[in-house]
């Protein structure tokens, strides 16, 4: 049994213009100690899928179906359809999250000590001083010097990188088994990015967590992830181990994404080979492959199939899945 098992997760938003299928039936498993990267452009559903089973999407006009099971100390738990009070007890304890912009993600009016202690107090009935000790311990662990003194400081008194370290410390206050890092380095300097990614990796080993790394940047993924899920228009379009994916990307979209990864070993001007065109509107999906309008290889598929039939996710090799008509019938 996997630590976190997502099966046929669907998220639909009711908007005045109609139903938007933000996440359209995705399934994946995450194991203890594993790092899964979810990659895609904005609007691909990579963030929404995770916010959905965390119960963090606005209620009312959102419809979530499928199944997400989490292995906890008290056995497996189904997260979809859970009572708000029960899922609250999972959030921050079993599954913790860090976000893109650590400035706006930290409350500007409260000291970081307050915010760290609060995270601990939410799940542990202990004296405040105990939570405070824990906060100092974790701050020290993420590399904040003078942790005891810095507890009284406010977010605006930290640099961007330090703030993200504080966020990480906050996420780890309750020893979570899963850490969802949603674009954790996007708002940071390039030099700081590497430090933060290394910190996450180190802590993952120490705490034996599963990490779900959500990013639009395949460059981040390369050194950090074990597996990669590529999402496009609410669907999983390719899934493989990180080495396999980099070595043999199959889906033309993945190929395009890899082309747009900034690489230090290439001349500056070649760094970004953007995929021509825009991601599709999730409201106006045709019956065909969502990527077809931007696909440079659709002519290779006979009978205009890319425009008319939506491809299935098929296994290309062991652990390598792709959603593309090009590889139909070539499975092992």
């Amino acid at each position: 049994m996997s630590l976190l098992s997502v099966h046929d997760l669907r998220v639909e938003f009711a908007t005045p213009d109609g139903i938007v299928k933000a996440v359209d039936g995705i399934s994946f498993d995450v194991e203890r100690g594993e790092t899964l990267a979810i990659v895609g452009e904005s609007g691909s559903g990579k963030s929404v899928s995770n916010l959905a089973y965390m119960g963090l999407l606005p209620k009312g006009k959102t419809k979530i179906t499928g199944s997400v099971t989490l292995e906890t100390d008290n056995g497996p738990v189904e997260l979809i359809g859970m009572e708000p009070e029960d899922i609250r007890k999972i959030r921050g304890k079993d599954i913790a999250m860090i976000f893109q912009d650590p400035m706006s993600a930290l409350h500007p009016f409260y000291s970081i000590g307050d915010q760290l202690v609060e995270a601990h107090q939410a799940h542990n009935k202990v004296e405040k001083s105990v939570s405070q000790e824990r906060a100092i311990e974790l701050l020290t662990l993420v590399g904040v010097a003078d942790a005891k003194e810095r507890l009284r400081a406010y977010p605006h008194q930290f640099s961007g990188g330090m703030r993200q370290r504080v966020m990480i410390a906050m996420a780890l206050m309750n020893n979570p088994s899963v850490l969802i890092a949603d674009e954790p380095t996007t708002a940071l300097d390039v030099t700081v990015q590497a430090q933060i990614l290394k910190l996450i990796a180190d802590l993952q080993k120490k705490f034996k967590m599963a990490v779900i790394l959500i990013t639009h940047d395949l460059g981040v993924v390369a050194g950090a992830a074990d597996r990669v899920n590529v999402m496009y228009a609410g669907k999983l379009v390719e899934s493989a181990s990180v080495d396999e994916l980099y070595a043999k990307p199959k889906m033309p979209y993945t190929v395009g994404l890899l082309g747009s990864v900034p690489r230090m070993d290439r001349p500056h001007e070649d760094r970004l080979t953007a995929i021509p065109g825009q991601p599709p509107s999730l409201m106006k999906l045709s019956g065909g492959c969502a990527f077809a309008p931007r696909c440079t290889r659709k002519s290779e598929v006979p009978g205009n199939k890319c425009e008319t039939t939506s491809p299935e996710l098929i296994q290309i090799s062991t652990g390598h899945y792709s959603r593309c008509h090009l590889y139909e019938g070539k499975t092992k």
Binding site: M54, L56, G60, P84, R88, K89, I90, R91, G92, K93, A96, M97, F99, D101, S104, A105, L106, H107, P108, F109, Y110, S111, E118, A119, A122, H123, Y154, H156, M167, M170
Partner: protein, 334 residues
């Protein structure tokens, strides 16, 4: 803390200078208005040159402008005598002048009116903040539900009913028709002398004022809370597994508080100028009625004093707001 003390005293010194400048400007404006202040002292329909000239000398309007201003400033610190002999009038420091139409020193008049307005404004403020923030938060929390709809109706009624109408309805029904409260003995009595009587006098005016403001604040707080709840740090708080109550009461409200405090501070300062309609309906002898009466009667010394007072309140309120801001938001602390 000593930093704060130094900051406050520096600000107070600046405030004092601003008020001095304002007083000069007010004096200048009234000196060049096309009214003869001496003529105004003898009231409407009065054109007896004897009275006018006597008052001109008695009040010092015969002296040049700068000398009048100087005497005014000296009077503020040392008190002032008007006229000589048996009919002389003394106004103790701080003297803002003497009103011939009210037969009283302006300082005494303001001294009587200020506590009334203060009591009215503070009571109403407390009431409307409780009501406005409470309802605003609840209707944001239960957006689109019955409670939210009910509070929307309350907001509509509260913002569209003029205060004098609310006040009149309250008096006519609560006091005159239903006899739920005794008819106020008239005027205003100090809470330190007669607390139940004071409550009886103030409760309806508080409700009247608070009703209108609470409606505005409900709407404002609701939108502030809804806006704040989309902030990233609220998502963080939720992701930490905090309870909804804690998120709302601590994280959302604290952030929404800054603009609410600004609005409350300015509204309070505005009210300290006098809530004319409410004071008129409930016969409260506050600053509003003092100023209104003075304007209608061209009672210049009172107009000068109330203008200065209004300026002082706004300037001081700004200082208070800055301090409150520093308390709410650590980023602006010095």
């Amino acid at each position: 803390m000593s930093g704060l003390l130094a900051y406050v005293s520096r600000r107070l010194a600046v405030t004092f200078l601003i008020l001095l400048a304002v007083s000069f400007a007010v004096y200048l404006i009234f000196a060049f208005l096309p009214f003869d202040p001496a003529t105004l002292t003898c009231g409407k329909n009065c054109n007896d040159p004897g009275i006018i000239e006597a008052n001109r000398i008695r009040l010092g309007y015969d002296k040049p402008f700068y000398e009048q201003y100087w005497v005014f400033i000296v009077g503020l610190f040392a008190g002032r005598n008007y006229g000589e002999g048996a009919a002389a009038i003394h106004c103790a420091a701080p003297s803002f002048g003497y009103s011939f139409q009210q037969h009283a020193c302006v300082t005494d008049l303001i001294g009587e009116a200020l506590p009334v307005t203060l009591a009215l404004a503070i009571g109403a403020l407390v009431l409307w903040l409780i009501l406005g923030i409470g309802l605003g938060v609840l209707s944001a929390r239960f957006r689109g539900r019955v409670l939210d709809t009910a509070s929307t109706i309350f907001v509509l009624i509260g913002t569209s009913l003029p205060t004098f109408l609310t006040g009149l309805m309250l008096i006519i029904f609560v006091v005159i028709k239903w006899h739920l409260l005794p008819f106020p003995a008239g005027g205003y009595s100090s809470p330190f002398e007669d607390f139940p009587g004071w409550l009886n006098t103030m409760i309806l005016p508080w409700i009247t004022l608070a009703f209108a403001y609470a409606a505005l604040y409900t709407r404002f707080v609701r939108s502030q809370v809804i806006e704040t709840s989309t902030e990233d740090y609220i998502r963080t708080a939720r992701a930490k597994g905090l309870s909804e109550g804690l998120i709302l009461g601590k994280h959302t409200l604290r952030a929404a508080l800054a603009p609410i405090a600004t609005m409350a501070g300015l509204d309070f300062a505005g009210l300290m100028g006098g809530a004319i309609l409410t004071e008129a309906v409930f016969n409260l002898p506050g600053l509003g009625r003092l100023s209104l009466g003075a304007v209608l009667d061209y009672d210049l010394p009172i107009i000068v004093a109330t203008t200065l007072l209004a300026a002082a309140i706004v300037v001081i309120m700004n200082l208070v707001l800055d301090l409150v801001y520093a308390f709410i938001d650590p980023r602006v602390r010095v």
